[in-house]
């Protein structure tokens, strides 16, 4: 691309994808995927382009931290792409800049996906996106560590879990358990939801569109306290974070027995050659050990494809965009085998290619996720109209966990900021 590489709908970009024939409908696609996921998505796009269907997709990588911002600007300046990836539960937030696709969907598309994923994409009765996957967070255990402490990784309740943690701390050199996997507010938010719901609490109450902050009640406060005690009183984890990804590092090297992380986190275990380390044995357990008498549910999310507004887009292009999205969301076995995600399309999720992967068979990450989805043990975060994952709201939780702030003021600061944003 030249100096004016941005351009409008008719992108001139042709670097990465083989050319479609000149009569093709050209589609721009923005995605934020990095590392493994980027490779696989690229492969999917190439696959799609190589089909003789009169559509050509130009993909662009946009860095995640700036993604939303850039998308808003692009829509605003009339430069938006036809398709853009984002979280499924962001429908309300993205609603002003995307358009519903019900008119363009092929018949029965709805039935291709797990219901929970499909329903999550509805805003006021319209479909705003198609889901690529359902990814969730659960409990990774390093089996070597657990073994050397003589601990069995089936935790039914908080007591069993706590004593296991105490044993690990006392009997091994390793730390027992980290509540978060990445030094970022979003990781704390996602893990907190799991514990909060098991304790019977909620992030917000009310209906989409009129949410009220709820986690500043007793349950929310107690759950936050539990979280902070992991690095405090309990001594299961250190309040230091040596780098953004330090917990992953510790887990692989056996310095950490267990942590809450996503299905896709296995990607981060890979070494330079793209393989999982041979001497690492781990499993992926349902994270239903937190105290309280709420429901046993875990947090989940879907990478999804949205359709930004752009007055320059023709109807044919919009149609082609949806066609492309259906293809990518319904033919993505790679997304599981290499990306570590549970595909959101039922038939893909249960295909033999997916079921035969190590991740399903040996490590059980995708399998566990599949079970939780089919057992209705996962739940999406609230569909707020604000950018709820922002550090503005969840930074305080990270700070509580790192013992940089006390629980009371951390929760209050977080809740105040979110309330204020929700009421704007």
């Amino acid at each position: 691309s030249g100096l004016t590489g941005g351009g409008g709908g008719q992108s001139t970009d042709s670097g990465t994808d083989g050319g479609g024939s000149s009569g093709d409908v050209e589609i721009d696609y923005w995605m934020y995927f990095g590392a493994q996921e980027n490779k696989e998505m690229t492969q999917l796009v190439e696959e799609f382009n190589s089909q003789d269907n009169g559509i050509h997709v130009n993909k662009q990588s946009v860095p995640f931290p700036e993604f939303l911002n850039k998308l808003f600007t692009a829509v605003n300046s009339g430069n938006a792409p036809h398709v853009a990836s984002y979280y499924g539960s962001y429908g309300r937030h993205l609603e002003p800049i995307t358009h519903p696709i019900d008119d363009y969907l092929s018949d029965g598309a709805k039935n291709e996906y797990f219901d929970i994923a499909w329903n999550n994409l509805q805003v006021d009765g319209s479909t705003y996106a198609l889901p690529i996957d359902i990814h969730g967070k659960a409990l990774y255990t390093n089996d070597d560590v657990l073994e050397s402490a003589g601990v069995d990784p089936n935790f039914d309740d908080w007591d069993a879990f706590s004593s296991a943690c105490d044993t690990i701390v006392s009997d091994t050199e390793s730390r027992a358990f980290s509540f978060i996997n990445w030094k970022v507010g979003q990781a704390a938010f996602r893990a907190y939801i799991i514990a909060l719901e098991q304790a019977g609490g909620q992030v917000v109450t009310g209906e989409p569109g009129s949410y009220e902050v709820a986690y500043d009640d007793d349950v929310g406060m107690q759950t936050a306290e539990m979280m902070a005690k992991i690095t405090g009183e309990y001594g299961w984890d250190t309040s230091q974070f040596q780098s953004d990804a330090a917990r992953v590092q510790d887990f692989i090297s056996g310095d950490l027995g267990m942590f809450i992380a996503g299905t896709w986190s296995v990607n981060n275990f890979e070494n330079e050659d793209g393989n999982l380390p041979e001497d690492l044995s781990f499993s992926f357990e349902k994270p239903f050990m937190f105290p309280g008498d709420g429901e046993d549910v875990a947090w989940c999310e879907s990478n999804s494809l949205y359709f930004p507004k752009n007055a320059n887009h023709t109807d044919a292009e919009k149609q082609a965009a949806v066609e492309f999205a259906e293809y990518v969301t319904q033919n993505n076995t790679l997304w599981a085998s290499a990306g570590g995600h549970l595909p959101a399309a039922k038939s893909v999720a249960t295909s033999s290619e997916v079921k035969n992967t190590d991740l399903w068979q040996k490590y059980g990450t995708i399998q566990t996720m599949y079970e939780m989805v089919t057992n209705k043990q996962v739940r999406y975060q609230p569909q707020t109209s604000v950018h709820i994952n922002s550090d503005r709201f969840w930074g305080p939780f990270l700070d509580m966990y790192l013992q940089n702030t006390d629980v009371q003021s951390g929760v209050t600061a977080s809740a105040d900021a979110l309330s204020q944003a929700l009421n704007q």
């Binding site: 808003f72 040596q242 940089n404």
Partner: protein
């Protein structure tokens, strides 16, 4: 000299007859000035005015025409926002720590390198070269230095129990150290030039007058470097006031907002939550602060010049 082609007086040309001298100068002058003036007015002056305008509105990003005029509300909100005061305080802390360190270290480097040393070119390279690095390289390398297994934690870990970037107290000093490493070379070069411009004769006169090394420094070197030192103080103050890259890359403003600086705050408002009107008000406030700082400095310089 009576032959051909002497440079005799000639009559005025057409261009000369068409416009008088001052009109011609004006036309030619504007022709030369125009390209920059266009750039300047479009990309500097206009945004400056527009920023003021935006700061008086609740700015609708998607549909600017739906922005509503709110008067000074953004400014009053700003003054009531604890995050603003936190960012201001953090920025002052950063500047207050960084500027003296930069001045001190660059002065030491400049005075030392003014002597003839074996390998002075190499030394100069080492001191100055960090300045040509981009903030992303600097920030990431130093984040590593202060992370697990990094040099900083390895040797100074006892100070801050693990990584300083995790500590409310030490995160800012860590960013300060990073910045000093990055920037000191620039000011070192400035001060070195100033030192080398001190007339050698003065040291000889001072020697004959019986001055020792300290006296020479105090009575000859320092007074001569005064203007350069003032430049260093002013320039680094203004530049460091705008610190953004280091906290963005090293701490994301944390822990507990202890490294959230004014520009970082501005960036979040403008580009994360897209409250552009409010962000513009922050920008203007920053401008006022910096103009105040410069004024103060100019006053200081002014009274010091004889």
């Amino acid at each position: 000299m009576s032959n051909v082609e002497t440079t005799g007086t000639r009559s005025p040309s057409r261009w000369e007859r068409l416009f008088d001298r001052s009109t011609r100068e004006l036309l030619v002058g504007m022709l030369f000035a125009a390209p920059y003036l266009v750039l300047f007015s479009v990309f500097l002056l206009y945004p400056l005015l527009k920023g003021l305008y935006m700061s008086l509105h609740e700015w609708n990003f998607l549909e600017p025409s739906k922005s509503t005029f709110v008067g000074l509300e953004n400014y009053t909100r700003l003054l009531e926002d604890p995050a603003f005061w936190n960012a201001l305080w953090n920025t002052l802390e950063f500047v207050g720590l960084t500027v003296p360190l930069i001045v001190g270290i660059s002065l030491v480097l400049a005075l030392g390198l003014n002597k003839e040393l074996v390998g002075s070119r190499v030394l100069q390279f080492v001191y100055f070269s960090p300045y040509v690095l981009t903030v992303s390289v600097v920030g990431i390398v130093w984040a590593q230095m202060f992370a697990q297994g990094g040099v900083g934690t390895q040797y100074l870990g006892w100070l801050f129990e693990g990584s300083p970037l995790n500590s409310k107290f030490w995160a800012m000093p860590a960013i300060v150290v990073t910045t000093v490493w990055w920037q000191a070379g620039f000011y070192f070069a400035v001060l070195l030039a100033a030192r080398q411009n001190v007339p050698a004769r003065l040291y000889e006169a001072a020697r004959l007058d019986g001055a020792g090394p300290w006296r020479m420094f105090r009575d000859v070197t320092l007074p001569h470097m005064k203007n350069a030192l003032l430049f260093v103080v002013i320039a680094s103050t203004i530049f460091q006031f705008q610190v953004f890259g280091q906290p963005y890359l090293m701490t994301k403003g944390g822990p507990v907002g202890s490294t959230e600086t004014l520009v970082y705050y501005l960036y979040e408002l403008g580009f994360q939550t897209r409250e552009l009107g409010f962000g513009a008000a922050v920008g203007y406030t920053l401008l006022l602060i910096l103009v105040g700082v410069s004024m103060l400095n100019y006053v200081l310089v002014g009274t010091n010049d004889e």
